[in-house]
Symmetry: C2
Subunit: 217 residues, 2 copies
DNA sequence: CGGTTAATTGAACGCATTCAACACGAGTGG
DNA sequence: CCACTCGTGTTGAATGCGTTCAATTAACCG
C-alpha cells in the first residue's frame, strides 16, 4: 500500500456538501495492488473508505477455514463502516485500487457537518439494504436462483453491453454460500439455455432478461 | 392495536442524549396482541419502534410463499429502521407486545439533525451487526451449527436458568433458513447428547456450554 | 511452446428436504 | 373426567440438491 497524502488533515475547513467532497477534503488517497489486504478481520475499525477506482471485496474466515464474502464494492461505494470498534470482515483489493480514506476521529471532529453525518447514515442504509438482500438470498434461494440474482445485480443498469466480472468463481461461490463447482454448473446451464453469454471467463452479457429474472426467484 | 398517547408531540423539547430517552419522551405507547401485524412489507417506514415488553419478529415473504425471518426483537431493542422509504420486512408481534413508537420526523425535529443522525446511526450499526452475523450463519453453517448458534444467542447472559423460547419451530426454521423438521431433529439430537434440556416445548436450559459452543462452528 | 492457475465436467456421496405418519398438548364440550 | 379436535411438534423413509472428490479442459503468462 502506498500513501499519497498524510492521513490527518482537519485544517479547520468548512462543512462539505457531499460525501465525495468530504472524502476529497479530509481523506487520504491510497493505492492498493491486486490481492492486497486493506484491513484485516478484527483490526480496529479506524478508517472509512470510499472506492475511487477498482473493486474491493470484504470477507470473513471461520476458525475451520470456511470463508464468507460480505460484499463487493465498486467506485463510489463506501465500506469499512462497522457496527463495533473492530472489523468483523476483512477487506481486500480485488483489482488494483484507488481509495479515499478518512479517520473516524476526523468524522467526529467534523461532526457538526450535517451533510457528512447524513452521508454516513446513507452509507449505513445502503449497507443494510445489501445485507437484507443477502440474508434473503442465502436463507431461501436455490443455487440457480442465487447465481441468477447475482448476475442481475451486476448487470442491472448496464443496458446490454457486456458486463465485467471482477471476481473469480471462488469469490462468487463464497459470496453466494455455494461451492465453486456449483457456481460453474449454474453458469454453464444459464449459458446452455441462451439466457446469458460468456465472451470470456471474466465478462458476460444478458441475452434474455425476463428469463433471467424469472430464475432469480 | 391500541394507542395510549397521541403520536405527534414535538412540544419544543431539548435534544435527547440517547435514543432510548427520546423514545420515552416523544414516543407513543402502543399495544399489540399476539400475532398482530405491526407493519406490513412495503409499508411506508414512517415509524421507529422500541420494544418495551414482549417479542417482535420481522419477516419477508417471496412471491412463491417462502418466508425469511429477519430477526427477533426483545425489550430494549429498536426496530423499524429501514434502508429505504418503505419496509422491506414486515413486523409482527410474537407475543402480546408493548412498544414505544416515534415518527422519524418527530425525532428529527426534537433532537436536532445531529442527535437524530447519531442515534439512528447507532441503531443502524446494531442492525448491521445482527445482519452480518446472520449472513455468516446462513452462508456457511450447517443445520446443526445454525441451531446451536441460535440457542447460544438466546441463552447468553442468562447464567444457567431456563431460557424462554418465544417463537415456534416454524419461526426458528424460517430464521435459520431450514425446514421445521430439520430444526426439530437438531434439537432432539442436542437433547440426546445432553447438551441442552427442554423442560417444555417453549423453554430450554444449556447443560454443557463448551459442547454447545463447539457445535456452533 | 511448457508451466501454472483457474474453470469445467463427471460420478458418488451425504445432508437437508420432502412427504407421510404419528405423538403430544391445550382447549372444548359431553 | 374422558373423548374429541385442532394446532404444533416429532419421527421415519425416500428423494434430490448441492457437495465432495477426482479428472479434464481452458486460459494466462513466462
Amino acid at each position: 500500500m502506498t500513501l499519497a497524502y498524510p492521513l490527518s488533515d482537519p485544517r479547520g475547513a468548512r462543512p462539505a456538501a457531499t460525501l465525495a467532497e468530504t472524502f476529497e477534503r479530509l481523506g487520504a488517497r491510497m493505492h492498493f495492488a491486486r490481492d492486497e489486504e486493506i484491513y484485516a478481520q478484527d483490526d480496529d475499525a479506524d478508517l472509512l473508505f470510499q472506492v475511487v477506482s477498482g473493486v474491493v471485496r470484504t470477507s470473513r474466515l471461520t476458525a475451520d477455514g470456511r470463508r464468507q464474502v460480505g460484499d463487493f464494492y465498486y467506485p463510489g461505494d463506501i465500506f469499512g463502516l462497522e457496527p463495533g470498534p473492530d472489523h468483523r470482515f476483512a477487506a481486500e483489493a480485488l483489482s488494483a485500487c484507488e481509495l479515499m480514506a478518512v479517520r473516524r476521529a476526523s468524522v467526529r471532529a467534523a461532526a457538526g457537518e450535517f451533510e457528512f453525518n447524513r452521508a454516513i447514515l446513507e452509507a449505513a442504509r445502503q449497507e443494510m439494504e445489501r445485507l437484507q438482500e443477502h440474508v434473503l438470498l442465502l436463507g431461501r434461494k436455490s443455487a440457480c436462483e442465487r447465481v441468477a440474482s447475482f448476475l442481475i445485480s451486476l448487470a442491472q443498469g448496464r443496458s446490454d453491453g457486456p458486463v465485467e466480472l471482477s471476481m473469480g468463481r471462488q469469490d462468487i461461490a463464497d459470496y453466494l454460500g455455494l461451492t465453486i463447482e456449483t457456481v460453474s454448473r449454474m453458469l454453464t446451464r444459464l449459458q446452455g439455455e441462451a439466457i446469458v453469454e460468456f465472451p470470456s471467463l471474466r465478462a458476460f452479457r444478458v441475452r434474455r432478461w425476463t428469463a433471467l429474472e424469472a430464475l432469480a426467484g
